[in-house]
Amino acid sequence: MHVLRVAVLAALLAIGSFFLLVGTVGLLRLPDVYNRMHATSKATTLGAASLFLAGAVYFGPEGPGLVSLVGIVFLFLTAPTGAHVISRAAHKMGVPFYGDADWPDPGREEQ
């Protein structure tokens, strides 16, 4: 295997592991369900997308590598949608905000 390809693969693996670590630390440490959702939906998506990119580099442009690229597109489409749905559900359930944060405009929801 070419040395440049090995270097790119190792860098992508390191970046992906780092973002997975950041996402899980945010999930464990942040005070509020909205903050936790914010941390995990961005960082974990970036980490998994970086690992998918490592798979695309490893397997080449066809076969499993192409499936990896499709996986990146799927993650970037669905992770924000899922986080938005969860936070809407939390707000509808009446989970309070942390600190003195509040809904931006209380009348806008009903419109």
Binding site: L27, T45, G55, Y58, F74, T81
Partner: protein, 96 residues
């Protein structure tokens, strides 16, 4: 096919696998003690994404391209289940 990987890359993939597994176990803490139901849904979603990462790391480690497909299917199942649980929490049922 695992011997095809250079030693440096083999170590890197193994370290990433161990890290992702430990993070998945740590995220289950929030599932157990999470104060509200949305907390549990968020952490289950995180566990799903971590398992996707583990599947693709395993695909790189063994050279089996099939596990990339496995990780994509796991991502799809995780998204659908997140939507379904969030809807069940607010509406009371999924399909009325």
């Amino acid at each position: 096919m695992a011997s095809e990987l250079p030693a440096v890359l083999d170590t890197a993939v193994l370290a990433a696998l161990v890290l992702a597994s430990v993070l998945t176990l740590l995220a289950s803490y929030r599932v157990i003690v999470g104060p509200t139901t949305p907390d549990r849904v968020v952490s289950l979603d995180t566990i799903g994404t971590n398992v996707v990462a583990i599947a693709i790391l395993y695909a790189i480690q063994t050279g089996e391209g099939l596990f990339v497909t496995v990780s994509l299917v796991l991502a799809i199942i995780g998204f659908v289940s997140t939507i379904a649980v969030a809807r069940f929490v607010t509406e009371g049922d999924i399909i009325e």
